[in-house]
């Protein structure tokens, strides 16, 4: 879980202390472009395919983490 947060913080170019599993979409640097980058990076790093219809339901970083668990 910590490793995932570090991974996300790296992509967002923020310190890991600035985000948590509860960080919400549209908060801080997490805009729609960042969402695309996150999906792209998560799919490549964790070798998963995230269905488009599920992406619309992402509200927090925990929701992203659910894709890789």
């Amino acid at each position: 879980m910590d490793k995932f947060l570090e991974f996300v913080a790296d992509i967002m170019e923020v310190d890991v202390s600035e985000i948590s599993m509860d960080t919400e979409y549209k908060e801080g640097k997490w805009d729609s472009i960042m969402m695309l980058t996150l999906i792209m990076e998560i799919e490549a790093e964790y070798k998963v395919s995230i269905p488009i219809e599920n992406i619309g339901n992402v509200k927090t970083i925990a929701d992203l983490y659910a894709f890789v668990k």
Binding site: I33, L36, I39, M40, A44, S49
Partner: protein
């Protein structure tokens, strides 16, 4: 000195936010508002791309939309519109580099085995169009994205998910590759290119050790395993033919190594392809430093290639400005290794006639130096060189070289004004201004167009706006000859005005006008103005020169 960030217009028929996201740390971007609005942006003369301060424009066109073209006519019309738009753009945008992409047309693949595929015609006609523009316009270049896609392969390059989610069809890998190509193109425009590659021999240009294996024993051939080195050599030969200088830096007995260089049947790079050969037992960093001073090249001009990590580490430590790339452990990848070096550090926007014979020019310079060491005086040396000078007004076909000199001459450059080709054209057409070019040749060879003088006339004065000279002909009194001719030509004017604007690099001309007999009028923080009283000037005769031609 902090580098000034470059501002890039990025025009595209896809969403480019992710590209900007990856490159924003290096460049500032100007984007038109809205999705796929680049055509309107280009057509409208009031648009931001024509009023913003920009350093380059990139037009990135993607062929994914071809999947939804209802028929071939729609595709034909679409490409025609794009071509018209780019004709408008390149007619208006003449002062900054414009990069236009090639296209991979992704037409619908539901086709029989015998149906015509229009995509080949589309792609080819688009390529022909962009290439023709690049040949016609000096500031237009081809951004070959289609080639990048072919290298990576469509399945890897594209992502349908990204396309449906964001109107940007690249995968992570595709996005990275496009960003890299854009960055490489911009670096070719804005970063100084490395000029010389110094190569090791054993296990670098051939396999094995010449001192132990002998000419017959080293691995180097036109087929099979030895071809790895043969192909590697060809890469450097291709670079040499595009203006990169080659040198050898090897620890060996010179006679062993020379035997291979001159006699091995599969040796592609021969002795006259190198500007310097350091084959000895000295430290490699010492050899590189010696090469630099002999050829008048800075450490920052060098790339050093060696398979031996110890040698690489030493050179990196002793000469931090020399670029020392890691050598591939898999020798079958040597071609790609050389290609990356070329793309990252050497590839120029354009190869000019001067670049084709650069190696030969440096070799001639070496012979001149030997002549100089035998001469007792500068005049004696000049006389022995049998120099012929030709000064005339710039002709249209010389514009490219003049622009190149204006933009890269740092040392002998009185005002360092970086005129673009379009600006130089304007100057040439202005009746009050004139551009003179100077050619020099001697018994060792032709140095080509080596000096540019831009003059601005008024009723009573003639001002030297720009006076620059290639550093390879400095120290031969050419500046005296040039000024002598120009002063005679403009003797009807009262005064000739000289200007010196100091930079970090133009120290060699700081006292130029003092040496040429001008009077210092003002000095503001090193920015100096000079005057030469024309009434008191009588034309000199330079007897040590073989011939001086002047054509007004």
């Amino acid at each position: 000195m902090a580098e000034i960030r470059k501002s890039i217009a990025l025009l595209s028929n896809i969403t480019v936010d992710l590209i900007v996201g990856k490159l924003h740390r290096i460049y500032d971007f100007y984007l038109p508002d809205g999705f796929d609005t680049w055509v309107q942006e280009v057509i409208n003369p009031e648009s931001g791309i024509y009023s913003e301060r920009l350093d380059a424009a990139v037009i990135l066109l993607d062929g994914t939309e071809a999947r939804s073209w209802k028929d071939d006519n729609e595709g034909t019309e679409r490409l025609a519109l794009w071509k018209q738009s780019l004709t408008v753009l390149t007619n208006r945008m003449v002062n900054i580099p414009v990069f236009i992409s090639t296209i991979d047309i992704r037409e619908n693949r539901i086709k029989s085995l015998s149906e015509r595929k229009q995509k080949y015609d589309f792609e080819n006609s688009w390529y022909q169009f962009v290439q023709a523009l690049a040949e016609l316009k000096s500031n237009v270049y081809v951004l070959d994205i289609a080639d990048i896609i072919a290298e990576i392969g469509r399945k890897q390059f594209y992502s349908n998910k990204m396309w449906y989610m964001s109107s940007m069809p690249y995968s992570k890998e595709g996005l990275a590759a496009v960003c890299k190509e854009i960055d490489r193109a911009l670096e070719a425009a804005f970063k100084t290119r490395r000029k010389i590659i110094a190569l090791d021999l054993d296990n670098t240009l051939w396999g094995g050790v010449i001192g132990e294996d002998g000419v017959e024993g080293i691995e180097l051939s036109a087929h099979k395993e030895g071809q790895r080195y043969y192909d590697f050599q060809r890469q450097f030969l291709e670079m040499k033919n595009r203006g990169v200088l080659l040198a050898i830096n090897s620890k060996n007995n010179p006679e062993d190594a020379e035997a291979a260089i001159q006699r091995h049947p599969a040796m592609l790079i021969r002795d006259d392809d190198f500007v310097s050969r350091k084959i000895n037992w000295k430290n490699k960093d010492t050899n590189l430093k010696d090469m630099g001073s002999e050829l008048n090249l800075t450490e920052g001009s060098f790339i050093f290639i060696d398979d031996n990590p110890v040698e690489r580490e030493t050179v990196k430590n002793m000469c931090p400005d020399i670029l020392v790339p890691e050598f591939p452990t898999d020798i079958t990848e040597l071609i790609a290794f050389a290609e990356d070096i070329w793309l990252d550090y050497c590839r120029p926007l354009r190869v000019l006639g001067e670049d084709l014979i650069k190696t030969q020019m440096y070799q001639n310079e070496e012979k001149r130096k030997q002549e100089m060491s035998k001469s007792l005086s500068l005049d004696g040396y000049i006389e022995k060189l049998e120099i012929v000078v030709d000064i005339h007004r710039m002709r249209t076909e010389e514009l490219g070289r003049v622009a190149q000199l204006c933009n890269k001459t740092n040392q002998f450059n009185t005002t360092t004004k970086r005129y673009t080709q379009a600006e130089l054209e304007e100057i040439a057409e202005n009746p009050d201004k004139v551009i003179y070019v100077v050619y020099a040749s001697d018994k060792y060879g032709d140095s080509g167009l080596i000096s540019v003088v831009i003059l601005i006339g008024s009723k009573e004065t003639i001002k030297i706006d720009t006076f620059l000279m290639s550093c390879r002909v400095m120290g031969r009194k050419l500046e005296e000859v040039i000024l002598n001719e120009l002063t005679a030509e403009y003797s009807a004017k009262k005064k000739m005005i000289g200007e010196f604007i100091p930079t970090a690099k133009n120290v060699p001309v700081r006292e130029l006008y003092d040496r040429l007999g001008f009077k210092l009028i003002s000095d503001t923080n090193g920015h100096k103005m000079y005057e030469l009283d024309m009434a008191g000037y009588t034309k000199k005769f330079f007897k040590s020169f073989k011939e001086i031609r002047f054509e007004a």
